[in-house]
């Protein structure tokens, strides 16, 4: 019976679904049907892997941009190549092996999920956040209706799922039109939901585009809500910033350039952008000069033993006083700490920074033990 149901899906999804279906009977049932969902950490009462690895679902109408988002953010595709992506026909589930092991599932836009043929438990049962993509350049009223129906449905069955709404493709719109559309969408969704009696839904709105950094920022915020260790990370970053007088610190995931945590001072887009661009510089230079030297006899083996520590570190100081400087330290293979420093000279503070970052690194090891990576 199980195998017949799975016929319509790709092998990768089949395995995932099998796992979900097999595990479901072991899951704890929700304590009461109307339990107040805990939105902050996204811990699902029904999930087998509750709280450990974020699982995202991308939904939206067809051609709204779901596959493009998934490719650009998680598979490093240049935005211009997304024009050549074909329509998704089946449920795609992709894993990203980074320090957090994301799983991103993408539902094709033209299917109706409330049809009893679909096994809702297997689709919605294990996800932490649902990202609904609305094409801001297109007619969105229909999308909003579908969205509202989905939210209302989920509020009864899976109340703990965070709903994140991406008002997408805003790069092509003028500033005014962009803001008007954004406000309009927010208004409509909130009105409909409160009409339906759903007060305080776990809904957030973001303006995004794959052609600039906004999509990465939005996904960063979505993921942060799913990391149970976020408060610990934030307080670590806060204490790091106050002890070293750092203006802004980010903990970045290098392959995807999503930031996992930041300190609690206000974040603005340009800090994120400059840090994200800086990672590109470092990664490119590392690629150029980090070529495999092991072909040389004897030379590289000795060198490697001497230095041992494989994590890189980098510093940029600006010429004029009053401009920030950037500091980057790789914490492990996937994570990097990037700090925007204040105006003091680095030479004096380097020892202080080295010590504190070392402490920070040990703390991260404890928060994310090795077997979890």
């Amino acid at each position: 019976m199980v195998s017949r149901k799975l016929d319509g899906f790709t092998p990768a999804s089949q395995l995932t679904l099998m796992r979900y279906l097999q595990g479901l009977h072991e899951a704890e049932p929700p304590s009461s049907p109307n339990s107040q969902a805990r939105y902050h950490t996204g811990r699902l009462p029904n999930g087998r892997h509750a709280g450990s690895k974020p699982r995202l679902m991308l939904m939206g109408q067809k051609r709204s941009g779901k596959s493009s988002i998934s490719s650009v953010v998680f598979h490093k595709m240049p935005p211009s190549e997304t024009l050549y992506l074909e329509t998704t026909t089946a449920i795609q589930s992709r894993s990203l092996h980074s320090f957090m092991d994301f799983q991103v599932a993408e539902l094709p836009g033209h299917l109706d999920y409330f049809n009893p043929e679909f096994d809702q438990a297997s689709i919605f049962g294990d996800i932490g956040a649902l990202i609904w993509v609305i094409d801001a350049q297109d007619e969105y009223l229909d999308a909003i209706n579908q969205l509202n129906n989905t939210i209302i449905y989920l509020s009864t069955t899976y109340p703990a799922i965070n709903i994140e709404i991406f008002v997408h493709k805003v790069d092509g719109l003028s500033e005014d039109y962009k803001n008007d559309t954004f406000r309009d969408i927010i208004q409509r969704v909130q009105d409909e939901l409160s009409d339906a009696g759903y007060e305080n839904p776990p809904v957030s709105f973001y303006q995004t585009s794959i052609y600039n950094h906004t999509i990465f920022e939005a996904i960063s915020k979505v993921i942060q809500k799913l990391i149970p260790q976020l408060p610990a990370l934030e307080s670590l970053l806060n204490s790091l910033c106050s002890s070293c007088r750092i203006e802004k610190a980010f903990l970045f995931d290098i392959p995807s350039k999503i930031y996992v945590a930041t300190d609690t001072s206000p974040t603005d887009t340009s800090s994120y952008e400059v840090c994200s661009d800086y990672i590109d510089v470092i990664v490119d230079l590392e690629e150029i000069y980090g070529w495999d030297r092991s072909v040389e006899n004897g030379y590289s083996m000795e060198e490697r033993d001497e230095t041992g520590n494989g994590d890189s570190e980098s510093l940029v100081t600006m010429e004029k006083k009053g401009h920030n400087y950037l500091y980057l330290k790789e914490i492990n293979r996937y994570l990097a700490l990037i700090c925007l420093m204040g105006e003091d000279s680095p030479a004096e503070k380097k020892v202080l920074i080295d010590y504190n970052v070392g402490v920070f690194q040990e703390a991260i090891e404890k928060i994310f033990p090795r077997n979890d990576r």
Partner: protein
């Protein structure tokens, strides 16, 4: 009058049919545009002059000549001697995607005929541009074919083959930097003196590689590669680094809200388990990139040594031969200084012939 004598003037003509990509290239290299900004550029009207200061003592007079037929007519007729006299370098841009290849070649032929008339000793750089529009598997063949056609035309007009160089370029990758680096290298008057000093410095630091960049354009002036690093598989790494640095400048400019031309970093260092790298200011107009093995002690020693070496290199920027005299005088005798430098203007051009 004296001021212009002190600086070496080099007249560079940038020509090609309308829409070939001359102004786009110029804005990316010299005006801190990013590749996608060039869409904003309109057709150049008549000639756009830029005076670009390079390496301190080199003043490039870049003539970006509008390529529309009416302007070209004008250059070849009533402005003929004005445009084509005293040209050091002619950069001619061919658009590889152009459908009028024969007409392009004819236009080229008449242009270099005028060039030969007034500046027969000039160097010609032919840039086969917009190569990104050619499918990857055909690139080499298309380029070779075009190069042969153009070379034949040059020889017909009287230019020796060593006077003409060919480069395939595109604004979307680092080939643009590679080609312009060659142009600059040709124009920098004391390149070999710089190289000698860099080689000595590299030996002193025990560095794997030294690369000298011009500050504002991030173009490579020259580089020294030692022993093991010769095997680095990335042969185009110098241009790649140019393009990486340029992008970084833009990113910092955006963040601090300043112009990209005003942004300059004092130092950028990267330390990894495989190598250590830093870029710092060497002279007023150049940055030096140093690649060291992954050893903390020699890395810090290298940084200190480069600081100390700055004094030695500073004189390469303004004058060559009488460097020590100028330094000794310092800022106290400006009038005397200028006179000396004016002399140097002539002395060093003869010095250059003996250097090379």
């Amino acid at each position: 009058m004296e001021r212009s004598k002190r600086q070496k003037q080099r007249k560079v003509l940038l020509m090609g049919r309308s829409g070939a990509g001359k102004s786009s290239m110029r804005s990316i290299i010299f005006s801190n545009y990013v590749a996608k900004d060039v869409r904003r550029l309109g057709a150049t009207v008549d000639v756009e002059h830029s005076n670009i200061r390079f390496m301190g003592n080199l003043m490039l007079n870049l003539w970006d000549c509008g390529g529309q037929d009416s302007f070209v007519e004008s250059y070849l007729s009533n402005q003929r001697s004005h445009v084509f006299t005293s040209v050091a370098v002619m950069i001619f841009v061919f658009d590889i995607s152009s459908r009028e290849a024969a007409a392009d070649l004819l236009s080229f032929a008449s242009t270099i005929r005028a060039l030969y008339e007034f500046s027969p000793g000039s160097k010609i750089f032919v840039l086969i541009h917009k190569m990104d529009l050619v499918p990857a598997d055909q690139k080499a063949r298309v380029f070779q074919q075009k190069a042969i056609d153009v070379r034949t035309t040059c020889e017909d007009e009287g230019f020796q083959s060593q006077q003409v160089d060919f480069w395939a370029t595109s604004i979307w990758d680092q080939s643009l930097y590679k080609a312009w680096t060659q142009v600059i290298y040709f124009l920098v008057p004391n390149a070999s003196a710089i190289e000698d000093m860099l080689r000595r410095l590299a030996d002193l630091l025990d560095a794997r590689e030294l690369i000298l960049y011009e500050r504002t354009t991030c173009l490579v002036v020259t580089h020294i590669t030692r022993d093991a690093e010769q095997r680095n598989p990335y042969n185009d790494r110098f241009e790649r680094i140019s393009s990486i640095l340029k992008t970084h400048k833009h990113s910092m400019a955006k963040h601090t809200g300043t112009m990209a031309s005003e942004v300059s970093f004092a130092e950028l260092q990267i330390k990894t388990g495989d190598f250590m790298f830093f870029i710092t200011r060497l002279t007023e107009n150049t940055n030096l990139a140093v690649v060291m093995p992954s050893d903390e002690a020699s890395f810090n020693a290298a940084r200190v040594n480069v600081q100390l070496a700055r004094r030695e290199f500073s004189h390469l920027d303004i004058v060559e031969k009488r460097g020590k005299d100028v330094q000794r005088q310092g800022k106290d005798g400006p009038a005397l200084e200028e006179v000396r430098m004016a002399d140097d203007g002539e002395a060093s051009s003869s010095g250059r012939a003996s250097d090379r």
